[in-house]
Amino acid sequence: MAYMHLNHIDVCYDKKINILENLNLEVEKGELVSLLGPSGCGKTTTLRVVAGFIEPKAGSFQLENEDITKVPVNKRNFGLVFQSYALFPHLNVFDNVAFGLKIRKLSKDEIAKKVNEMLEICGLEEFKDRFPAQMSGGQRQRVALARALVIEPKLLLLDEPLSNLDAKLRVNMRMEIKRIQKKLKITTLFVTHDQEECFSISDKVAIMNQGVIEQFDTPENIYQRPKTEFVARFIGFENFIPFTKEKELNYKAQNGQLFDSDSTCETSNCIGAIRPEDIQIATKEKSKNVVKGVVGVRTFLGKSYQYETETDLGKFLVNMQADINLKEGDEINLYFPPNKLILVQKSNA
């Protein structure tokens, strides 16, 4: 049994719309798991169910084999970090961090010792006497993290903690979070809509769409082998070809053309997905997996150009090295390598 287990969770709003539907999630001790998805996909709702702010309509939530679905927020002993930092404006850094320990009625010396230790881990010793209003966003976020961690929580819950920071600070802070999380070996749930942030920090990622987890796997597996069209789109696949299965590893497109793919597909209908940078220009000897197209609009991406290409099978986005120079109206043959053409299931959105 996993350390943390969400079991068939249903959440609805106004008794009508299902925000979460039959959601299951298992997290092992010490793991950092991300919930990734576009806004409105239910990732924050999931986190709030775990935190205890929302009581699910159905389902249960187990931690260390104990059902704590009905335990109120203040008895759960979870550390929370919010997007808005949510520091107590009238208390200084030391008292902000000490708040949870004071509630637990620890002795003054113990509180001082623990708080100072945590401030050191988070690199905040010199800011002890500052008030939240006198600090920068990154510093405040570190205070929020220290405040959540000092109570030695069973779970650390992070709700888009980096989205109010500027790009450079964000990268530093996520390394910091990862370092502290590994050092304290604390099981962590991390909510984000930023794919790069999520992949760089997580042990596992749950990609959510419309209240359902579409795929739950390691970042590497998700990146290389998305299971559904939604997941593929979310992680940068731009080109999709609807297929029917002819025989194993052999698929027919709508115009009758046959394609090879190294990936497998259980159902007879599926979608072939490929990233713009994985499409190549066909060499003479290639005959399979080749589509003839006409070059359209060109966009400069820095390392490469992106071409919009019109073909029998619809529009494709193709990235080419900057030294290959194509002009609008040029005819080209596109080659879809079988190992890059991934088969995914159709999503309901």
Binding site: N74, S84, P89, G100, I103, I151
Partner: protein, 260 residues
Amino acid sequence: MRKNKLLTIFTIVVFAFLMIPLFIITVTAFGKGTAITFPIKSFSLKWFYNVLTLDSFKTSFLTSLEVALLATFIALLVGVPAAYALARSGIKGRQLIKSIFLSPTIVPGIVVGFALYQFIILTLKIPVFAGLLVGHFLITLPYVIRIVGSSLEQFDFSIEEAAWSLGSGKVKTFFQIVLPNITSGLSAAFMLAFINSFNNIPVSMFLSGPGVSTFPASLMNYIEYNYNPSVSAVSVLLMLCTVIIMVIVDKTLGIASLAK
């Protein structure tokens, strides 16, 4: 910066329009004669002495002070939790309930006064002072709910959630986290509620009874029969009190906090 002459003149005119009556009243308070005249012919402090020794002023001033303080205090006790509930819970018809709470400020004072007279004096037959207190509580409550409500709405809800997650119960969180962060709203609510109660005439007129009268009511009564510089003297004293309170507020919280 480029100065606009016309605007400067306009500002001076408006300012003069506001200040000249106050100036005239202040000057007349120091006259010697029994009629209010401007400019005064000779200087005297006898009207101030008269006001401070007049029994009806003294007792009614204390009554007003007592009523205003008590009513405001009760309004805070009731209004702060009500404002909290309105700001935080997702109950249906929240907007409607809010407007109902604010209705005493929209309905003309004389109508509120008469309605309360009907209900409190004629139907319930509550003692005069208690009745006065109930009336003033009702006219001060909307200010408390409105002002405290708006400062609660500005207060980030996730700060409370953070406190809960750290193990603090809801009541404890309210006293330790929410209240210390809305003090400016609370004092603004207190000031406005107090001033409104203290200055109120229509409701007090209906609810006063034998021996119990509020300060503005007895002042009006006095003016009807004695039109002398005592009235100016009272005004000067009241202005002085207000200025002192404002200076204290400005020194402790800043006037800007009242405008929030």
